[in-house]
Symmetry: C2
Subunit: 350 residues, 2 copies
């Protein structure tokens, strides 16, 4: 694919500088690497810490560089007579850009290097499926430790622990455990506060397994809940199911978001839905497409996205329900298997 | 401090775009923010997710922006008649740089916005001290779970769990647990492999507590160890103590590294020491200065650095011993209290 770009854009070379893209094309998973591609093939540049690992992982020949990788890139550009160099202009640091600009004529490739990642291969879908399954198993295991008086922090720590025990390198993002009125903050951070009866418990969690992310939100009731809590939950679930039903190849992302909003509007809750309906994920937790208002991106088979409408009511609480789903040839497959029926934890608080 | 920069560099404004720097100057801890400073003061720009949080945390007035922050910045630059805008050219993305270049004459400030962070205030030292203490407590608690047959992955999960239980937002970096020959890889990732008797167990871990990092490495023996293992350990400890003794204000960083190398040379182990002796840390896990060969940066009171020499012998194993230390007016204070005497875990393997 990268060599096609060389011809299409009349390039002598191109430089992959975003680590997730370096990984995608080369297989190398270290924290420092650049991939230079020219007509004579690709070369992965990394430092001596990764000598063994890079040679084991990389699909391309490896050059181990002591000191800044850029010095080695500069030599290689000269040797390969690279005059027109394609770059990831929307991802590159200004420092690297400035240095490269002294070595070659830079051709901005926009997202052309990255965009193949948005349609997942079978191997990638399998990797995401495994990450999603691990994430669900970690939630089940963590909830088995739920007890009256447990704090948000303790529950978040338990969740991350259960992910790690199952082989995740870590959470895909800071795990959110938010209870009571705190759940009304979409990006709440866990507090050392006990999860009290009578309020929601919102858990938003994802795992990183072999580099691939998962993402799921579940909202529970704790103890005796006000009637309104259940009504809001049911409305959000209706919205989430409506959005899921709208997912299919050829659909505009904005239409999926509109379906989620329309379901909430029936309950006059749409004004409390203050974010987009979802996002792509893969090697990164946030990738295109974005399922937002009026977004014109078109869903295609092989995309993996989240569907996660939410309602947030200040001083009361928030509900979000989120699955990771695969866009298929005919519609979608929900990868997340964790149930979504309204569930009350600690039903008989002492 | 930022307003001094305006005068010194004849700027109409400056833009703080690196999140850790936004946090340092404004107090705002969210994941999306830009701080614009002009003669009329500073303004923090963030998005609606952070309305409540930004107003609670920020020392500057807050502007909540729907959509891209840059559009709001553009309007404000025009209203304030900012012609010369100082930027963090070594940190900024190329995309942001290109957009700003259309709005004002950009003045590269290098690390002038960031460098005040390298000398820690009393409040910051207290925050790092707390992070270091938490990190040590988490190691103790995790080692209490050490048992024959435990895997590297399980131990790493336990370490991160113990950090989280004590209030850390997470590990400062991917926790390293590497046993046997695997410890010879300085950046080893935990494997689902049991920690076997007869080899080293190297643990490199740091906590992030209220935004501030800690960093510590300890290396243990497991069960009956070959004599050579102890000899290498003692040499690395000697090297670490020599480097610590070399830390004082006015010293060049390269001299501290040289002290670590000289101690290893006495044991003919210096060629197995393949990285630098340490680095600064604070809001980020890697900050200047770097304690590397021939590095001319000068140590100053208030700097917080790691001292972490190591020896890595392929097919045998690696030893690294690392403390977080504060450069004081007269020398240094070792913040890490975890003991460093040679310790064998699981002394009587069944």
């Amino acid at each position: 694919m990268l060599t096609d770009l060389l011809g299409d854009r009349k390039l002598d070379g191109l430089l992959v500088s975003t680590l997730t893209n370096v990984r995608f094309y080369s297989g190398f998973t270290g924290s420092n690497g650049l991939l230079l591609v020219s007509a004579s093939g690709g070369i992965l540049f990394t430092d001596p810490r990764y000598t063994t690992q890079a040679r084991a992982e990389s699909r391309f020949p490896v050059e181990i560089v002591k000191g800044p990788l850029l010095a080695a890139i500069a030599k290689r550009l000269a040797r390969l007579r690279v005059h027109r160099l394609g770059i990831e202009d929307q991802r590159i640091s200004h420092t690297l850009y400035s240095s490269l600009a002294k070595l070659a004529r830079l051709v901005p490739l926009g997202m052309d290097i990255e965009s193949p990642r948005w349609i997942k291969s079978d191997a990638e879908i399998a990797a995401i499926r495994a990450s999603v399954a691990l994430n669900s198993a970690a939630l089940d295991a963590a909830l088995a430790h739920f007890r009256p008086g447990i704090t948000e922090t303790e529950l978040a720590a338990e969740i991350d622990y259960q992910m790690r025990l199952r082989g995740a390198s870590g959470p895909a993002f800071d795990t959110i455990v938010a209870s009571g009125p705190h759940s009304a903050r979409p990006h709440a951070r866990p507090r050392p506060e006990p999860v009290r009866p009578g309020g929601y418990l919102l858990i938003d969690m994802g795992a990183c397994l072999n580099g691939y992310m998962s993402d799921m939100t579940r909202t529970f009731g704790v103890g005796r809940m006000p009637r309104r809590a259940r009504q809001i939950y049911d409305a959000v679930l209706e919205s989430q199911l409506a959005a899921l039903a709208a997912v299919r190849p050829g659909r505009r992302c904005g239409q999926v978001h509109a379906a989620a909003v329309a379901a909430l509007r029936k309950h006059e809750l749409h004004k409390y839905f203050i974010h987009s309906t979802g996002h792509g994920l893969g090697l990164e937790i946030h990738e295109p497409p974005r399922l937002a208002k009026a977004d014109k991106a078109i869903l295609a088979p092989g995309m993996v996205i989240t569907i996660e409408p939410g309602v947030y009511i200040e001083d009361f609480g928030g509900v979000r329900i989120e699955d990771t789903v695969l866009v298929t040839a005919n519609g979608m497959e929900r990868l997340t298997q964790t149930p979504k029926a309204w569930t009350i934890l600690d039903e008989n608080p002492s």
